[in-house]
């Protein structure tokens, strides 16, 4: 029996390029190979946006040792074919064409997780894992995600958004627009996945500086009101139509610290041995919140996942005001770092089960879509 050919695409032009490598190698390729059901092809997009494929790219030590740089000078860029499914053409004296059965996108942030890669895969008409293009676009635009969820009656902290250029041209108009919000405020570039360039500000001087910082990274900026008596939680979810949430998790460290390679990714996935700790020490798993808030968090997360049209996997971040017992939607990650394997494991799903299920979900979604009519014969041209 021929194995299903799965291409794992990672890296790309993103501030989260490095995180993507760890997600792909430790949490996706390794478990996929262990299933023995798939032929795994690593496809690496360099920081300059060049596509490569080589079996050596599935070895994490290639990247941690820096040998990737010398390998890239030797490898020829990969060519791709988009008609009749996705084919990759490995360069060489006799170029080799390989048909890809399923794509597993493993990119974080810009030029990948934001829907760009999914659009490409839609054009190729190939099954792929995770959120589709429209839901990725919504999820990766913090303002759009909040607008859609608000429309569906999901609570989210009060906010305003604007274009960076408008602030440069008419700062006073924008500041007036923001005046109705109460400090402290959060200023964020809408598209950036990582916490870099997110500021919490207490007054108008800090606000201006923070907007400048956000504008340095993005053309669209969101300013939102902080939630009081805050507990942050996050809920990974898997599924297309039938959804399964993992445990409601309460991160203890925020931002860069939480996504620190050594503590989070390397500790959990990279090291062998009996004392794999992973992110456990850096979050409460499950979150230590009252039962009613726990359930409310699950329900809110599932509702967000549905109304944004997510599929495969995603992680929903929520903010809880422990005094008013209100649960606010914060943002969605269409591809959780490391697939949040540490959480799924605790919830009773192994990494091998997760990746296998994601491949199946990708195939299901693809089959369903094939049944939809997208083109029909007309005699429009003849009438013309």
């Amino acid at each position: 029996m021929n194995k299903i050919v799965v291409a794992v695409i990672f890296g790309s032009r993103s501030t989260e390029h490095d995180v993507s490598i760890i997600t792909a190698l430790s949490s996706i390729i390794k478990p996929l190979e262990l299933t023995n059901k798939y032929q795994v092809i690593p496809i690496y997009i360099s920081k300059d946006g060049v596509w490569y494929s080589d079996p050596r790219l599935s070895d994490v030590s290639l990247f941690t040792s820096g040998q990737i740089d010398s390998l890239m000078t030797k490898l020829k860029p990969l060519a791709l074919q988009f008609s009749d499914g996705l084919n990759i053409i490995k360069p060489g004296l006799k170029p080799k064409t390989i048909k890809i059965d399923v794509v597993f996108p493993a990119t974080h942030g810009t030029h990948g997780e934001d829907g760009e890669l999914m659009g490409l895969l839609e054009m190729a008409n190939v099954p792929y894992v995770g959120c589709d293009m429209p839901s990725s676009v919504l999820a990766m635009d913090k303002a759009l995600a909040k607008i859609i969820t608000t429309y569906h009656g999901i609570l989210t902290s009060d906010f305003e958004w604007f274009y960076a250029q408008d602030f440069k041209d008419r700062p006073q108009t924008i500041l007036k627009q923001l005046a109705r919000l109460n400090y402290p405020l959060f200023v964020k570039p809408v598209h950036l996945g990582s916490s870099i360039a997110i500021s919490r500000v207490k007054d108008s001087m800090e606000l201006k500086n923070a907007i400048e910082v956000a504008a340095h990274y993005d053309n669209k900026i969101i300013v939102e009101q902080a939630v009081n008596n805050l507990i942050e939680v996050t809920v990974p979810i898997i599924g297309n139509d039938k959804l399964t949430p993992a445990l409601v998790e309460q991160p203890l460290l925020k931002g860069e610290d939480f996504f620190d390679f050594d503590t989070k990714y390397m500790g959990g996935g990279g090291k062998k041995g009996k004392s794999a700790k992973g992110a456990q020490g850096y979050s409460k798993l499950p979150a230590e919140i009252p039962q009613d808030l726990y359930q409310k968090s699950e329900q809110t997360a599932l509702a967000v996942y549905r109304c944004l049209g997510c599929s495969g996997i995603a992680r929903v971040d929520l903010l809880i005001d422990t005094k008013t017992k209100k649960v606010y939607f914060n943002e969605v990650n269409p591809l959780p770092g490391g697939l949040y394997a540490h959480n799924w494991r605790q919830a009773g799903k192994s990494s091998v089960q997760i990746v296998s299920q994601l491949i199946e979900l990708a195939e299901d979604k693809f089959q369903q879509k094939q049944k939809l009519a997208t083109s029909f014969k007309t005699n429009y041209l003849k009438q013309y």
């Binding site: 390794k30 478990p31 190979e33 992973g278 494991r345 009773g348 192994s350 091998v352």
Partner: protein, 472 residues
């Protein structure tokens, strides 16, 4: 073949064969590609290995050097023909050295090691003969080391005890123990590692035991014994030496049944002698039960896993009573018993429980492990094994039985490391109507190293039998 790592491969193979020439040479014949040899483990950098490695490297390099010198001489001194000889010498090195390396090993064995051992064993015989301690010999096809350690742990609570180290259980090891003795010891525990007919009889003559424990009989070392009965004859010669007194035998070993005599004391998970076992509670990291006789009750809890340990613990408790330990001492001693590395040793991984029983190597061990697997509750039960080694003509039958035994453990998933016995285990699974998932894994190392990816919270994994790569 011309890999610069050739010496490493060869020393690794020698080490895996415990520096025995025959298995090494047999393996050498089978090897097609040396680079695949070292896929299970890494070379253990012992002094011996380092010396051999150095010798091999120097040998190979000097051979190549001689070859080059010959070639140069050919041209320098115009001695035609030498170049062909030199070239031949260079080309032939990967054929010569794998064989040449055996010679110093064998020479050392015959001329240095063996005479030295013989002398030490003679000395030991005198020491044991005059030593006043109770001397408990532990023999059997399996579970010896475990039995020895349990006895040592429990009896040490009230007595001065010495015992053979780890699983070092042949005559030269008995001699090493003798050297350490001060004469003050009250109890000696000596493990008998039988390997060929007459071994156990030889051990009794050296160590002069006063008590004998026989842990069971199973098809093992059949390359030398040929039949299980022959192995039984040898093992039970311990009982004859003791004139059938003070002999304790595992009552649950079916194959040992035909050798039982009325005067033997049997131990099992039902009890030992007049003591009865009650209220057994098994968990993933402990075993507890009561040992009852008339109105006496011992409350015992051990970190050893599985119902099959109940008999072993009971015997240790009873012997401790006989040797005069108090109830408190015995309960404390039993509480201190814990699994060895890789022998029904539980640990947690990614929220799952793994029971590591990879040093187990026989069907009785598999029965014990799978019985525990069935009794414990878990969200998902996974059984992992490559199969058993050293089964001779019995291979097909034993592995079919193994398949059936695994099925009785009711795992949700069975992972088998692909090799020559996999098909037989599969047949056994099918015969027993196994319905769960079956995975045949062709890369054991990747599987073991990636285990954390396979498991999740609530899973229970039983891993049995190490499969040394010289059988693969």
């Amino acid at each position: 073949m011309y890999s610069p790592r050739l010496p490493n491969y060869l020393v690794y193979m020698l080490q895996s064969c415990e520096y025995q020439a025959m298995p090494y040479l047999k393996w050498l014949l089978r090897v097609r590609d040396f680079s695949t040899v070292m896929h299970r483990r890494q070379l253990d950098n012992t002094k011996r290995a380092k010396l051999l490695l150095l010798a091999l490297r120097i040998g190979i390099l000097s051979e190549i050097a001689i070859g080059i010198v010959l070639i140069i001489l050919n041209f320098a001194l115009k001695l035609p023909g030498l170049w062909a000889f030199g070239l031949a010498i260079i080309i032939a090195y990967p054929l010569i050295w794998p064989l040449l390396v055996v010679i110093p090993l064998e020479l050392a064995r015959v001329f240095i090691v063996q005479p030295k051992n013989q002398h030490e064993i003679e000395q030991a015989q005198k020491i044991y003969q005059s030593h006043p301690a109770v001397k408990i010999a532990v023999a059997g096809s399996y579970g010896k080391t475990s039995m020895k350690e349990v006895l040592k742990t429990v009896l040490s609570e009230g007595k001065k005890v010495q015992a053979t180290q780890a699983n070092h259980n042949v005559a030269i090891e008995h001699a090493k123990l003798a050297k350490k003795l001060t004469g003050q010891e009250e109890i000696l525990i000596i493990e008998y590692g039988e390997g060929a007919p007459g071994d156990v009889a030889k051990f009794t003559n050296i160590t002069h035991p006063t008590h004998g424990v026989i842990t069971g009989l199973a098809p093992a070392h059949l390359d030398k014994y040929k039949t299980v009965d022959a192995a039984g004859e040898d093992i039970f010669s311990l009982a004859s030496y003791l004139k059938n007194k003070n002999v304790y035998v595992n009552g649950q070993s079916e194959l040992a049944a035909k050798f039982l005599k009325p005067s033997f004391v049997r131990y099992s998970n039902q009890g030992v002698g007049d003591w009865k076992v009650e209220n057994v509670k098994l968990s993933v990291n402990s075993t507890s039960f009561q040992l009852v006789k008339d109105k006496q009750i011992l409350n015992l809890k051990s970190e050893l896993l599985g119902a099959h340990q109940v008999g072993v613990l009971s015997l240790a408790a009873m012997l401790a009573m006989e040797f005069g330990l108090t109830k408190a001492q015995i309960e404390q001693g039993i509480a201190k018993t814990k699994p060895f590395e890789h022998r029904m040793q539980p640990y947690q991984l990614s929220g799952a429980w793994i029971i590591d029983d990879t040093y187990n190597g026989n069907i009785d061990g598999i029965k014990a492990g799978t019985a525990l697997l069935r009794q414990l509750s878990a969200k998902r039960k996974i059984y992992v094994s490559p199969g058993l080694v050293d089964q001779g003509k019995e291979t097909a039958r034993v592995h079919q039985e193994m398949g059936q035994v695994i099925a009785q453990g009711q795992p949700d998933m069975v992972v088998l490391m692909a090799n020559s016995v996999t098909e037989f285990i599969k047949q056994g699974l099918v015969q027993a109507g196994y319905k769960g998932e079956l995975i045949i894994e062709s890369d054991p190392l990747a599987f073991y190293q990636g285990l954390e990816h396979f498991v999740a919270s609530g899973d229970l994994v039983l891993m049995q039998n190490d499969w040394p790569d010289n059988y693969a």
